[in-house]
Amino acid sequence: MEALVALAIGTLTGCGIYLMLRTRTFPVALGLTLLSYATNLFLFTTGRLVMGRPPLVGGGSVTADPLPQALVLTAIVISFAMTAFVIVLALVARVELDSDHVDGAGSP
């Protein structure tokens, strides 16, 4: 299971990096979304993998680590806010610069 999660994180990171380096705003936004999945998953893994034992009091002696979960929970919401900001910025840039190139150059 650990190998699968590690592989997933790696794939998400790699593809996120590739898309982040594209020339147009939309793929860059997608790339950032993938990168935030990867980051959230990685943060989550610092609590190690535990199956079927959520961090609830009374759910057994050994449960998943609650702290990374709490951190990731807010991180998910913040990544949404960031993605939203980036994409709206891209929209405004498209209209103002008449191009969706990340450097505002080239054809629309």
Partner: protein, 931 residues
Amino acid sequence: MSLLIAVLLPFLGAPVVAGLARRSRRLAAWGAAAAALLTLAVLLPAIADGFTGATTIQRLAWIPAAGLSLSFRLDGLGLLFAALILGIGLLVILYALYYLPPRDSLGRLYAYLLLFMGSMLGVVLSGNLIQLLIFWELTSLASFLLIAYWRQRESARRGARMALAVTGGGGLALLAGCLLLGEIAGSYELSVVLEQGDLVRAHPLYLPTLVLILLGAFTKSAQFPFHFWLPHAMAAPTPVSAYLHSATMVKAGVFLLARLFPVLSGTPEWTWLVTGAGLVTLLAGAVIALFKHDFKGLLAYSTISHLGLITALFGIGTPLAAVAGVFHIINHAIFKAGLFMAAGIVDHECGTRDMRRVNGLWRFMPYTAVLAMVASAAMAGVPLFNGFLSKEMFFAEAVTAGGGLRFGWLLPVVVTIAGLFAVAYSVRFIHDVFFNGEPVDLPKTPHEPPRWMKVPVEVLVVLCLLVGIFPAQTVEPILAVAAQAVLQAPPPAHDLALWHGVSPALFMSIVALAGGVLLYALRRPLFALHQRWEGRFDARVFFELLEAGARRQAQRLIARLDTGSLQRQGAMLVVAVIVMGAGGVLGTAAPLTGTRALLPVDGASLAAAAVLVGATLGATVLHRQRLTALILVGAVGLIVVLAFVTLSAPDLALTQLAVEVVTIVLLLLALHFLPPESPSESTCGRRWRDAGLALLGGSGATALAWAVLTRPTASIGSWYLDHSLPGGGGRNVVNVILVDFRGFDTFGEITVLAVAALGIFALLERFRPQLPPGDAAGRRWDADVHPLILATFARLLLPLALLVAVFVFLRGHNLPGGGFVAGLIIAVALIVQFLANGVSWAHARLPSRTQPWLAAGLLLALATGLASWLFGRPFLTSASSHVGIPLLGEVALASAMLFDLAVCVVVVSATLLILVNLGMTHQAGQQQANR
């Protein structure tokens, strides 16, 4: 807290005076003087104590855990400097009223002067090294503002920049030195540091500490080779030159030498460095001063020379030399401030400062001439004037200190030569300006200045004479306590008398006086020689080359790093992360795989992982077809949700699911305004480069995740598990952490969310896009925008969804759920209404301008946090109890629930603010397109 108030008063007075100056100049002067007098009045009790030899120490705890407190200290040395700062400050305030032409803003000058006064008082009254440094930098800033007072003049701006660069750079060195000193001594409190002299001097880091602190002191006090900024600082108005650049601010450096004298002095390093710099400065300043044709420049170099003299005295390091140093600080402040003011009068009356043109003023202003002569005599060290006394003590110390050394005889010789030049330039100042023929082509016809402009000079000149003739009755009390504070011991026996009998010092004084007059008489060949060499050794040129070079290099570096291309910046960022990550791992012997037992793989997980990898790669490969890529990214998000479900994180799964829906809707909306496809424009090489970076980054992330996952962990998570129920009153530990244990974090995070939402709102305010009437293939948009079935079902769903949200919210403290999830569910339910029924329909029935709600949510969170203060608990402490409600059963009511409600409100309103505004833009664009 009288000392704190005294330091703050001038700062508070500055804006008041600037305001008063709008009404009348005289009022501003009264205001500034009142501020200084009030400060003096507040200080008086401490000053009275200081004269008995007592040290007033006042502390105000600031961050006790870090050992930081506001700490003030007034002892003899602080007393002396406070008296100089306030006394000369008052005279300068009076003088400036008459000096400054009516067209210049007097309010600005006074405000800056008061800023300086407060900063300088802060320096001399600080009881803590760090605090001293802060005020030290403030004096540099005030000096910058004052030098650049006539900001329309290029020379003023350049001089200000240079002064700031040199003293500011020295301030950085001083910061490093003080940090070292504080670490060695074990405290930054002066009262502790001053008693750790032996420890500091024996420490292996003594030399670097000393050098760094001396760099700070020497740059501030214009010691060679950092002296060059001071003459350029003379571009400031003359009251400023008199106040900052001769009497007080440049004394901050020697103040520091005196302050740290018990800690740092007494080693060969101290003696050589400090005495050496002092002597070179003393001699060089005196020689250059003689050749300056600008009389303000002459006084500037003379100031440098006298600062060198004081530095050399502290460098010699004997108790008697330190007494002489303190004495000369007083004397120099008095006569040099007077001289600058007299020079300012001449400048004011003649319109030029060139001594080749300003001649023979005795006929026009004999009274001013007499004042200037007295002050000059003090500067030259003529008997009966105050400068003579400290200078003779200096000569005596030079003889004593030189006595034990191999080339010790050089010391008295150098000192006598410097004294000789001092006499020569003093004679030149008086003879050239007031005698020596007729004025040449002056812009104005000079006459005596207004009565009150002369008063400050008169006060200072009278002081010169009083101290010079009756030293024991006038200056001895303050000198004794100041010297005691410098030495941190009773001062040695010293005799402030005019006549000490026939001694080497007397002989040196006679040589200097006679030689100086002779030297001035023979000046013509020397001036010719100087003219041939002038400008060849100008430190300013070197400084400007250095400055231009640094600027060029910085520009080159910026041009290379910041190309304005996001792709390039992004690639550099990725490369930097990869390099740092690899650098951290390579070369360590730790194995990649840890010892933790692994979980088994089941078929479903394998399949899900395969879908995730496949969808991610698919989205990457097909990224130019934007809709397809977006759908694939949505699939990836859903697999992540499943992963959270499997891996015991139900809260995360719920949150991620809701966020996923919102994100995809948002991106779909955005896609409407963007081209449906990306052009193929990256070159093949660029693609391979990016693929290489992606591969490196991806493998790095995999390896890192693998290394983390296979290692055992010792987490602090169990603490939260144990304390969640007793401490937070909830069984869902994740939620308890969010709203209780780490509620401050959550508060910050919902603030970020709110700021992002407001930012988007602001961006969309001006966003008026043109929508094409159809898609890229030319098909028109469907006329049935809101299908009836969808619309009807959406309306039916709304109450159910809201009920679910309430349920998820209420159970959140004990079971998966809580404010974040509930907020997202409500947001999704409302967004569905907007989507299914159209913005205008929803707009009429639902809140779409949610900024007030956003603010209300944040305020509620803040209020919940602050409420715990009412019970004397730290911010965001929660209280909890369990209440039985009929039908619902037992419900935990924690005050944290209010906080959770606030989180919920912020999440709903932020999400709606973002999406509904984008949707409304969308609708407006579509209506336009349909028309």
